[in-house]
Amino acid sequence: MPDVPEDPADALAAVVALRRLADQLEDAAVEQAMRAGWSWPQVAEALGITRQAVHKKHAKRLIAAGVTLRRRT
């Protein structure tokens, strides 16, 4: 692992890029899980957030993508 960047601009830009990567990864990983038949509560628990939050953020997108969603039980 490299050391923490010496230039504050690099360190701050890394924060921005990591947030962006995490957002992209969340979208991709939630989609992958739901395509594999996971339920909202399972995905929510795995992410450590409420199922309302994960549903609100991803449901419309996945319905539009034609993913068959399990009922919110």
Partner: protein, 160 residues
């Protein structure tokens, strides 16, 4: 709506499409830059194209900045080989802080709204000394200050 309103609207809508493409929660300054580059018949499009910065070149520069910034903390985006997520066609995407600041800086150059020209918007984006846009331009070997000068000239001479 006046011509500049229509132009602004087109740039922001294109910026929103770019943000959605990225899965971004907000339209940021670099999305507005892509939006300006997409308006090829306008002064900003011409200034950017003269510097070799069409939409594809700006996208490539932004991708490089993303990878470079991640590499400074030892992360490679290629290490996460999940399939691309489906974008949300309805997700509401508002203007982020960097985009607001860029627009404010652009508006600042026009004493009255009717004096506002497309090139002022490019100037507002190029005046940022910190953040994704200046980093991407530096990595692409573009002199941001010279480009801002070109934008300033375009704003004072060419109408659109």
């Amino acid at each position: 709506m006046s011509a500049i309103d229509h132009y602004l609207d087109a740039v922001i809508r294109q910026g929103e499409a770019e943000a959605r493409h990225d899965g971004s929660a907000a339209i940021e300054a670099h999305h507005l830059l892509l939006g300006l580059a997409a308006q090829q018949d306008s002064a900003p499009g011409a200034v950017l194209a003269a510097a070799g910065l069409d939409r594809a070149a700006i996208r490539a520069a932004l991708d490089r900045e993303f990878e470079h910034s991640l590499s400074t903390v030892g992360v490679s985006p290629a290490a996460f080989a999940l399939p691309s997520p489906t974008p949300d066609p309805d997700r509401r995407i508002g203007l982020g802080a960097s985009a607001r600041l860029a627009l404010e800086r652009g508006f600042f150059h026009a004493p009255r709204k009717r004096d506002l020209r497309p090139a002022h918007l490019l100037l507002g984006i190029l005046e940022a000394e910190l953040g994704t846009v200046p980093r991407a331009l530096t990595l692409a070997g573009v002199n941001r200050e010279e480009l801002a000068e070109r934008a300033k000239e375009a704003a004072s001479t060419a109408d659109w």
